[in-house]
Symmetry: C2
Subunit: 495 residues, 2 copies
Amino acid sequence: MEWTTEKRYKKYSEWTAEELLDLQAQATKSDYQLSYHVRPQSGLLNDPNGFSYFNGEYNLFYQAFPFGAAHGLKSWFHLTSKDLVHWKNMGLAVKPDTKFDSHGAYSGSAHVIGDELFLMYTGNHRDENWERHTYQIGAKMDKNYNITKLEKPMIEKPDHVTEHFRDPQLIKFNDMYYAIIGAQDAKTKTGKISLFRSKDLKKWQDLGYVDFSNDEMGYMIECPNLVFVDEIPVLIFCPQGLDKNITNYQNIYPNMYMLGEQMRFNKAKFITNQEKPLNLDDGFDVYATQAFNAPNGKAYAISWVGLPDISYPTDAENWANCMSQVKELHVKEGVLYQQPVPAMASLRKNGTPLRVEKTLDTHQTLMQDASQNYELKLDIEANQEGELYFAANNNLSAGIKISFSTKDDAYLTVNRSQAGIAFDQEHGETRTIKLDANQRLSIDLFVDHSLAEMFINNGKNTMTFRYFAPKENTKLAIASDGELNFTGTHWIMEK
Amino acid sequence: MEWTTEKRYKKYSEWTAEELLDLQAQATKSDYQLSYHVRPQSGLLNDPNGFSYFNGEYNLFYQAFPFGAAHGLKSWFHLTSKDLVHWKNMGLAVKPDTKFDSHGAYSGSAHVIGDELFLMYTGNHRDENWERHTYQIGAKMDKNYNITKLEKPMIEKPDHVTEHFRDPQLIKFNDMYYAIIGAQDAKTKTGKISLFRSKDLKKWQDLGYVDFSNDEMGYMIECPNLVFVDEIPVLIFCPQGLDKNITNYQNIYPNMYMLGEQMRFNKAKFITNQEKPLNLDDGFDVYATQAFNAPNGKAYAISWVGLPDISYPTDAENWANCMSQVKELHVKEGVLYQQPVPAMASLRKNGTPLRVEKTLDTHQTLMQDASQNYELKLDIEANQEGELYFAANNNLSAGIKISFSTKDDAYLTVNRSQAGIAFDQEHGETRTIKLDANQRLSIDLFVDHSLAEMFINNGKNTMTFRYFAPKENTKLAIASDGELNFTGTHWIMEK
């Protein structure tokens, strides 16, 4: 099916219920569908939005086009959770139904104000000449989840940015509200983060761009997100078109972060000693990560596992993408750590210790059928090298291959080239991280049908990626030319 | 909203996706929505259909009208489960899309044949004069859940029954197929169960009515269901309009059963020593129970918790009804026992032993906030009497009241008159069962927001009912005039 502009922007009211029911059934039945991650009920899911704690529950929204695997007319779908693991689908929340968001209720954030959850997001409107107009819109959600939009946009686009001005994050600091907004400078066409200030959410003052780097941040910054992690300000953002000489990356668009010393809101200055932004995830498919500070003092992040302008194999099944699991953030020794939340352990069933053998022949089967939804923890000693295979066939000619060394030149490489249906080969089929030499390596791998999330060395690195393997390929194996010492546990993950 | 005939039979393709999304969100957000029982994604749910084990999973379908709390144009929705507790929504399965089921894909059963699940169900068609025509239709579901309907109806309605001829159950016995079908005799207008035989599912022979009682079985029998429980044939059915002098019942329509000695298929004779049918459930809202023999040798049943021609408070929220939990069937001392399946225990969290006090003042609070989703097991000694309250407010003026005596004149009464929103008062607000005198009483109560299921004395009786209490009414208490000895445990139930 060709996704013409007309089809992508067809009103929700012009799609039939039968079409939607068929799409929902199709998404549910897919062999690649996820079992313990947030997935679209139908069609396409992208950015997490409005991640927050409200009314005694975690609230999460996501960008949705419910009618196919295309970036069509977007809305916000809503989920709630008590534990950040078990999510309840609350359905369509923010609809593209006013003149300010007629062509998409785009990404944004949420902030608890009084007994309401205040949503701030970007409305996309196309005029009769199909020219884009962008509006920063406010809406209030009450405890019964009823949403009322403010009548007028909150922030007008200033002249110094182009229509690529979106994804507002609403923050409160010292009794003032601030909005940071992804932007493209009108003159230089470079990526910027705009900062606005307001006392009352009505009158807003443009504080200009946030000063956080001397480098040019590509041609557009999407999804800027400021979060305090262990009291340290962390700026997460997506600098589209970033020069790879500044920070190298392989994905079509990067999702990066910078650790700060201080955020001086009123001076629009993010003071940092970090020279270059760092990749938030070292895998293939993370984008648009949104983090927030929860009332329990923790900082939680969740990522869209999917990328703009990339086709995924499930497009043919009319659905696409998923959310990462929620990650708890910490800063240790100048690095952002991302870790599973404790409630993930509640999904573990049937823990199986994995056998250790000193000398491996060609390879050792850890589990012939590891299932399609599991967690695997491996602790590998220093000065070893080998390969871990999962989602593999019997002779390991197909599968995901993780090569690693914990010797002098320590590294870890994910290779998805033999996993199954090929996709996005243009941006490479391997991803490599360097490891500290001669150190133990711990891997916490979460597999969910077509998604893998690896937390390496307690979350110092994460590598998140999709793959589309034949469903009978469920072998888990390890190989090495020599001695290999490790301990491990495998758990089935069931929600 | 008034449910005109036109609206109820509007084609699925004429409802918009936006309407459906709104209905799905409305159903999800309801305060009365269930958390660990099968519930409609939107609109109305009624009879369980096609309960079976296929492709390594339990399969269940239900009658659905997805567009509101009305008996409109029906389809089959599909669910699968590994453990009979955690169900995965597979979406719309059998659509009303041929001339034989244009006005409803009505109830039926499923039977594994080769590597397909064969579905047999009733197609409802209304002609230009709005006259009802009934067809018994076959369809095959493959392992990818694709459904192909047979081109022609399998069984023509014989002249000796009226158009009230529906709900076929397909059974295989000694290499022959049999279909038992609910019917109304054309001449006497009384309820009957028709029996048909076929070697090849193509040519069917009318064996007449099943002989199972000398009494008149009301004016129509719906949902006849033959299942073998501990090798004993059990006939479950809904004799609409049954004379209460035969077997007393209080619900608008009863769901009853008879234990047999033998089912002589070829003689259309259900040999039984049981004189009168018995109520399958002693609560308020069970109907259309469907049971089947699983490959593990067990017999499992599931019930619609809802009744035809009764309005429920959630009708105002555009959704209605739910499924009971799955019940494992056994026959002991001439009585059908219904018990929770073992996997229900996997939902238990935070078991709390309940305190015993010898002498109660006015009442004893067992838990001030018992939550809205829990299991409560109580074991009460012989020669006691008292009341159990749940979904109660602080002074117990509102709530469900269970009065009981384990003395000479032992009984248990459920009173839902003070529970919350009143409904179906016409058929009484209490239900009482007699208990054996001077015996211990065990109660296993499952509460899920607006549904209660009580298994009494290990499932010798079940009492299932809906109630619609204010959500802050979560007190659990016990009262007695004198001494009361019991032990108990409370578990939060979480999926």
